[in-house]
């Protein structure tokens, strides 16, 4: 009798174990490399080496690999998010702070390399928008400034060097929300103070602050809008000694039903009910040609598209319409015939900014330090670069990861 009563538990446990076996076995067969839902590369299959074995990395990579390649992972993630939602309830104004893995964008890593441990970040989820919260880390700010100073020492004297550190949306939100985030203005000033004096810093914080009541940031995405980028470009042009045409000289176009990466990544159902519009600006007849370079099977390949590429996501609103998104490097033909060539080492904030800069330069070379495998020295020489802009949004000073990628690009330049 006693034994009979145990069969239920036994069967339940065995079903559980069989499910685990199937999920783990399925992971071996799952060839996915990117999680669109989380906007990150999945762990690639570990490659055995004495070094990786002795450091324990080989086994850790296997754990990540299995966990990243579970069958039906996307559906399970959604279910998991729904269960997590069920742990709470809303009392009136539903402002929530959630913690999640920090995302510095999809970046290629070498086969078998260990995915960098993801830092944690906090988001403020409101009824109709998502705000990334800033955590001020003096050490990381100093490390980031040190990398920039490395660029200043390395860059040939004749090339003008500018730097722009762009604040996150929460800096210009309501007072209550600003209080749960650290002071970005202070952090930006801290970085700027530590920079080599040859670096021309762009005061983009004040430029945006003057227009904080306008739609300078997306509600569902972490990026600035094309309008926010315009004010940034204005500040940069002033520092670089040229004048940006007035906003009125551009034609405005709007794409509806835009849902940004933050809302998509963080599975917040209420935000997915509040899509916004994505606006872009063009001077009549000046959708400049851009050439995107990328790597495939060990070869560098390229394709061309207009700098505002509305076909990027089958005519669906997507931040990727700006210079076709993040590519290792992109060459954009400018409108000016002044012999000035601007190299922009940038994160994705640069994508919305670069189209505004085409009136000031004959050519723009956009470089993404997260993916570019070229020799920076050779690129600058090949394109006869006269001006150099390094721009990031302030979140890069929260973790070491992005600074390391910037440094790696510099180290590879020799």
């Amino acid at each position: 009798m006693r034994q009979k009563n145990q069969y239920g538990v036994l069967v339940s446990f065995l079903i559980f174990i069989v499910c685990c076996v199937l999920l783990a076995a399925g992971a071996m067969q799952n060839p996915q490399t990117v999680s669109q839902q989380e906007n990150r590369l999945l762990q690639s299959k570990p490659i055995f080496s004495a070094e990786s074995y002795l450091s324990g990395a080989y086994f850790r990579q296997w754990e990540s690999y299995i966990s990243d390649h579970i069958l039906h992972r996307d559906k399970l993630l959604q279910l998991s998010a729904q269960i997590e939602q069920g742990m709470g309830c809303s009392f009136g104004n539903a402002a929530q702070i959630i913690e999640t893995s920090a995302d510095i964008g999809v970046s290629e890593d070498k086969d078998g390399a260990e995915s960098a441990p993801q830092a944690r970040e906090q988001l403020l989820v409101l009824e109709d928008r998502l705000l990334e919260l800033y955590t001020h880390d003096t050490q990381q700010c100093a490390a980031y400034a040190a990398v920039l100073n490395g660029y200043a020492r390395w860059l040939p004297e004749q090339i003008e060097f500018y730097h722009m550190l762009i604040p996150m949306a929460v800096a210009f939100s309501e007072e209550t929300y600003q209080q749960v985030s650290d002071d970005q203005q202070q952090a930006i000033a801290e970085v700027y103070q530590q920079l080599d004096e040859r670096i021309g810093t762009v005061d983009v914080y004040h430029a945006l602050e003057q227009h904080q009541t306008e739609d300078i940031y997306f509600r569902t995405d972490h990026h600035w809008t094309a309008l926010g980028a315009y004010y940034g470009a204005e500040a940069f042009a002033e520092q670089a000694g040229w004048t940006l045409p007035a906003l009125e000289s551009y034609e405005m176009y709007t794409m509806d039903s835009y849902l940004g990466q933050l809302a998509l990544n963080h599975l917040t159902p209420q935000l997915q009910q509040h899509p916004e519009s994505l606006t872009y600006y063009l001077r009549p007849g000046h959708n400049q040609k851009s050439t995107m370079y990328f790597y495939e099977n060990g070869q560098t390949k390229s394709f061309t598209a207009p700098m505002i590429n509305i076909d990027f996501n089958q005519k669906k609103a997507d931040y990727g319409i700006f210079i076709s998104g993040d590519y290792p490097y992109t060459v954009i033909e400018g409108e000016a015939k002044n012999g000035r060539v601007l190299a922009v080492v940038k994160d994705s904030y640069g994508n919305a900014l670069i189209p505004w800069l085409t009136t000031g330069y004959e050519r723009i070379l956009a470089i993404d330090p997260r993916t570019c495998q070229e020799n920076l020295q050779q690129l600058l020489t090949q394109y006869q670069v006269t001006d150099f802009l390094l721009l990031d949004y302030v979140k890069v000073t929260m973790t070491a990861a992005y600074g390391q990628q910037l440094k790696a690009l510099l180290d590879a330049a020799g």
Partner: protein
Amino acid sequence: MVFSNLIFLGIFLPIVLGSYYLVYAVCKNVSVLNVILLAASLFFYAWGEPVWVVVLAATALLDYWNGRCIAVYKGTWKAKAALFTSIFIDLGILFCFKYLVFAVESINQCLSLALPVPSLTLPIGISFYTFQSLSYLLDLYWGKVAVQTKYSNYLLYLSMFPQLVAGPIVRYSDIAAQLQQRVLTLHGFCYGAGRFMCGLGKKVILANYAGEAAVLLLDGNMDQLSVAGAWLGILLYAFQIYFDFSGYSDMAIGLGRMFGFMYQENFRYPYLSCSITEFWRRWHISLGFFFRDYVYIPLGGNRRFQLRNIMVVWALTGLWHGASWNFVCWGLYYGCLLLLEKTWLLSFFRRHTGWGWCWTAVAVLIGWSVFYYTDLSQWLQFFCTLLGLAPDSSWLDLRTRSVLQQYALLLPVLALASTPVPAQLMTRLQKRQRLFSAVQAAGVLLLGVLCLILLVGQSYNPFLYFRF
């Protein structure tokens, strides 16, 4: 490898359980079963510590050999020499890996020196297996246990994967007989499976989310923390550490039962305690027993120098948890509270259990705050906020309201699950056999499905006690 990981649940455990029971079905030979368990345990350890598995094997060899010497030269100086050699080397290894960096840094700081700070990673579970090995040698020296004559059995005792990396600290006397002979039953397996699933649920459902919520409050900018946020944050951390550690102990006890071993309980609802004295009889019981039997009593117990003995034991208890001054303070803090209770408060709390519970709850929460903040200045700032003394701190802020909203349903579940109510409900159900079986089976399945789904959404989340 952690228990709440698909490699363990979907590959390692099924292979080990399958081969173990297959061999048991074929030959019922305990030696062969021990070989399977030993191979599995060494693989399990080498997965996390591919190099330091050698230290584990060497410690086992040294102590096994000295154990034999103690048995052979019983009552002579040679036995004592063998014992002290082992104690010296075992504690020396533990010191090098766990405390050397802390010691050098402290010396540099105190004497303004610049001695080179070694960079050593702490082998997982070293504190646990070192203490297990010492308990065997001391019990052997005192004649409480018989000598183990097979090295493989001794290595198995130290390395057994269910409790290797995060306890409980299993005494040799508790499983000596089971290493030689054990019976596997369906009842034992099912009890173990159920216990394992309970532990997994505690970890994946309760501890991880309590931790996620606690971090939101405790790891932010301290200037922005409100009084309510500080109390809620430390309460959530208290739940996290309890469910994390007791969840691991449940899984260890459950796995042990599946393989035919009976481990002692390590937790008995510590948050119901009505005094600090009682709390430490219910929290990490195996560690408390270790310090009582191998440090406190040999030092003289309550017969001589009780004050000194208590403070030594609690300073060591603190240090055992981590090589940092905050852990030492944490240990001494409990030493002082225990002395206070022994001298004045205990008899009062026995008569007024409500007051006792309140005192214990507040004292334990403050204790966890010392445990949480390794930086003492940060802790001081937190403590001021906790008492409402921090300048500019509000009583309730957006962050705290947000956490309360997000985890509104989790909080009562955490509170309820830390009491014996769920277990009592199951005991009542036992009278209705069929319903009881159905609830048990459904519970195991539901927990399993829930854990699997939630595990996908959770990033790598090791057990807190791994670092000890």
